[in-house]
């Protein structure tokens, strides 16, 4: 469902224009119905990979596809719901208007938008705030509104960049429940996180990325074989990447 073929990305930094490698030859394939956790420390390249999938930045080399369509084609995003890290929306719009916008741009009619909006605002617990301007929302509420917008058109592929960031325990549980529900519906979910517990709880498969390089990809079952926990696996990969000894 999601294919990333040998993607590399460099950014130019500062006035000297020094190149910094953000991604190096990333190869990844996520199958339909799979929940894939993308794990890595801050600045590892998780968001860069996601932004390439959403065509917000362009790779220096390589190619990415969603549902068989090149990500540079806007039609590839018709089946995608995306929540960016720390989302920010229009100050004076309400959740209802945000969902209307999301639905209309995905080609939904007014009735379908209304029905789906009612369901989603309930799921993300924004019933009492749906008519309020988004600038009056807390960070967690904005995150939940963004999640509802990502799901308004019932997408086959859901891409979430740090979906738990900024959420209180209730919000985290709500997102967790949503992930489980999406998994139950057979949706393909690609989410990034640096919180080991989230990856361990929700993923079928996980990839560990460090310094722009994908260090390991495997099923959770294989990653945690031999009674290891994800923290051990992750720390040993970090140590290897830094040239130390795996613990």
């Amino acid at each position: 469902m999601i294919t990333i073929n040998g993607i590399s990305k460099e950014f130019k930094e500062g006035i000297t224009g020094k190149c910094v490698k953000a991604l190096e030859n990333l190869e990844l394939e996520i199958k339909q119905g799979e929940v894939f956790g993308f794990l890595g420390p801050n600045g590892a390249g998780k968001s860069t990979a996601i932004k390439i999938l959403m065509n917000l930045i362009f790779p220096n080399s390589g190619k990415a596809e969603i549902g068989g369509k090149d990500v540079r084609d806007p039609e590839a995003r018709r089946i995608v719901g995306y929540l960016p890290e720390n989302p920010y929306f229009y100050d004076y719009l309400t959740t209802d208007e945000l969902l209307w916008f999301g639905g209309r741009t995905a080609g939904m009619d007014s009735n379908s938008i209304r029905e789906r909006s009612d369901l989603l605002v309930q799921q993300v617990n924004l019933q009492n705030a749906r008519k309020r301007p988004l600038r009056t929302y807390s960070k967690g509420m904005v995150q939940r509104a963004g999640l509802a917008m990502a799901l308004i058109h019932d997408p086959d592929v859901v891409i979430l960049d740090e979906p738990m960031s900024g959420l209180d325990p209730i919000g985290r549980k709500m997102v967790g429940d949503l992930l489980i529900e999406l998994k139950g519906q057979g949706k393909t979910v690609f989410f990034s996180s640096h919180i080991l517990n989230d990856i361990e709880r929700f993923s079928d498969r996980a990839g560990i990325i460090i310094g722009g390089k994908l260090k390991r990809v495997d099923t959770l079952q294989n990653l945690l074989s031999g009674g290891k926990n994800l923290e051990d696996v992750f720390m040993s990969e970090v140590a290897l990447a830094e040239g130390g000894t795996a613990g």
Binding site: F11, T48, K51, M54, N55, L56, I57, F58, P74, E75, A76, R77, R78, V80, Y82, P84, P87, Y88, F89, Y90, D91, Y92, L93, E97, W100, F101, G102, R104, T105, A106, G107, P133, G146, M149, A150
Partner: protein, 271 residues
């Protein structure tokens, strides 16, 4: 249109609900009040002063809307990264720019219509009180002047979109747009001055300066072209061909600016 409309509508809603709009309208209301006061201070010229001041108020308030509400509508998407969510929908970047611009046109048209209604009310009231001083008066020219002001604001807005497509912050876009406005309003006069014979203006100008000003004249939009407030105040006839060419000139500038903005935007990255 199905893709442009949702973007245009949320842009309009975001703009019209901005508190700055209420502030600008309030300032305009006070200026319309001042129009009545100032106009009666020059008894023989009440009509001319009233029309000139009312149209100037519309133009000034419209300029504030473009600079402080309009620019933010586009630039804030980039500053605050709202664009991530918008571009994650199945829309192309060109569709985003065009939709956003249509929303901006809608905002300018609606706010300017409200301001124009207020201006017309002020003029009608003064006309009823001082009917004798409104002998040389033409609603047609006033409406034309108002329409050209709206077009000028749309041209300026299109240019601000072009700036926003390659600058990294809303502040730079604002500064560049203000500079363009100032140059656009004064360039025609400066060019005429430099092209006049040196014995008439009393000093000589180097050919390089003339070339620079001429280049700037063709690069920047001649915004003074859209200003026929003087003709409206004195109820002077404006030739249809002038109106036609000015409208065409404005439309060409809009199309070029938005096309360039869309081309630049297609290559832009949002890290």
């Amino acid at each position: 249109m199905t893709t442009f409309w949702p973007i245009a509508l949320i842009t309009f809603k975001e703009g019209i609900r901005n508190r700055a709009i209420y502030g600008i309208t309030l300032v305009a209301l006070m200026l319309f009040g001042a129009t009545a006061l100032v106009a009666t201070m020059v008894p023989r010229e009440v009509g001319k002063v009233a029309v000139d001041m009312a149209l100037s108020t519309i133009s000034f308030a419209g300029l504030l809307i473009v600079l402080f509400v309009g620019i933010n509508l586009m630039a804030k998407d980039l500053d605050k990264r709202t664009i991530y969510t918008v571009l994650s929908r199945p829309i192309s970047r060109s569709q985003y720019i065009i939709g956003k611009f249509l929303g901006m046109i809608l905002l300018i048209t609606v706010t300017m219509s409200i301001l124009s209604l207020l201006a017309i009310t002020a003029i009608v009231m003064l006309k009823n009180i001082h009917a004798g001083y409104f002998t040389r008066f033409s609603w047609q020219t006033i409406i034309l002047a108002d329409g050209l002001t709206v077009l000028m604001l749309i041209v300026l807005s299109a240019i601000s979109f072009l700036f926003a497509s390659f600058t990294s912050s809303s502040f730079i876009t604002l500064v560049l747009t203000i500079i363009t406005y100032i140059i656009g309003q004064s360039l025609s006069g400066v060019k005429s001055l430099l092209e006049a014979p040196s014995y008439e203006i009393g000093f000589s100008v180097s050919p390089v300066t003339v070339k620079v000003v001429t280049a700037a004249y063709y690069l920047f939009p001649n915004l003074s072209l859209f200003d026929i407030k003087l003709q409206a105040a004195h109820a002077l006839a404006v030739s249809p061909s002038f109106i036609l060419w000015t409208v065409l000139y404005g439309l060409v500038y809009i199309v070029i600016s938005i096309t360039l903005a869309a081309i630049i935007f297609r290559k832009k990255e949002f890290p």
